[in-house]
Symmetry: C2
Subunit: 228 residues, 2 copies
Amino acid sequence: MITDANTISRIIEQFHFLQSADSDFVQRFFDRVNKIELPPSQPICHQGTQCSHLALVISGVARVYKISDSGREITLYRIGPGESCILTASCIINDEPFPAYAITEEPIEAVLISTADVIRWTDDTPALRNYLFNLISSRLSEVIGVVEEIAFRRVDRRLASYLIQRADTIDGSIETTHQVIASDLGTSREVVSRILKDLEQQQMISTARGVIKICNRDSLYEKSSETQ
Amino acid sequence: MITDANTISRIIEQFHFLQSADSDFVQRFFDRVNKIELPPSQPICHQGTQCSHLALVISGVARVYKISDSGREITLYRIGPGESCILTASCIINDEPFPAYAITEEPIEAVLISTADVIRWTDDTPALRNYLFNLISSRLSEVIGVVEEIAFRRVDRRLASYLIQRADTIDGSIETTHQVIASDLGTSREVVSRILKDLEQQQMISTARGVIKICNRDSLYEKSSETQ
DNA sequence: AAGTGCTGTGTGACTTAGTCACATACATTT
DNA sequence: AAATGTATGTGACTAAGTCACACAGCACTT
């Protein structure tokens, strides 16, 4: 149960479906759900487990990913404010085990809905249902995008795109490690290190321990969009 | 509109949601939908186009896949009897363009539902809504499985699995070409040819133009489940 | 039977990517 | 300054993808 008016208005602001739902539902909603806070690097869902709650993220970011036997990782997508761990919803509704891992990256505030409420509400509340349907559809599109990336695009091009995307808007710097990048892209740390070295020699970026800085965004962009 | 009693009962048999829906809806359903037949190798959805109908497959198989600039393909999943081109549904509901290609493999009979009816019925008919939700969730799981395969598993292991899966149950033979296999697995024809040659030298299979026959299923299975 | 053409398969040489085993560099603590 | 832990660099090797081209099997013509 959530009672704090301030928290409630933050949640309503973040989740559009609460605005289009009738006030009766909104009241029941805040009666039945709970708010939790999670620290960074907190595992949320384990592959193969059943999910007991659906989490709607108010603030923070979580990462959903796969791990291979050899320990390599690949990020499927991230969950941000206003979104939800939709795989959970899909597991709840289909009664299947969770097919991946999820972990918090930035500290998360989330609303927890119990399995029973998810099932009841998706049945009788069009607003929530549409919200979930839209979210799961866009996840499907995103994951199809991941398939396309890893099946067809060269790692150096993908890395160039990744750097542009992640670069700080002000000074073009990124604080991260090669291992983290490798885990996002689904490749190995050595491969990332070598490509970064190449990019540095071509003056597109400069690197230091834990930091990458974009020096020539244009030529990096050009590299990212080379075909084949 | 579908009136033929025989056709109607075949459709109801295939689509469970029509059994759990109330009879009022079933009547409206058959009043409003149409049946189509498509020959093999007929393109259904083109990447980037809007979808005007949702197709429910009564018989036959379609393939949903991605193509790279260089012409390489990868299969995302197949649509069989009782299933539906759920990407279409997701595009209809989110009003997004279709993110892949779909083509019939075996001749297809399908029920076509117009965009407007899809939207109306997902809103007022729980049975149809749940059917679609389950389907899209399981597609998401499948596509996540594809990511895992191409990101982490070696091509020779994947090919071994593929052959076991596709082999005729009676004599263990498969009628296909190296190019078709490559397109399913998301690799190139040459790679498939080389690995098949290896498998043949290890007496696991024998090959001829357009045919592959499994000779030693056990050792092929062993190969498919080697780790790393 | 020989000719023609299409589709399917084989192969070498080369580039890109992933693995393994280390070496080295930098930052923080003691 | 030494010790520790994390981050990065590198060579050697295997796996996978690309390109160019050769050749084989089959259908169809004449």
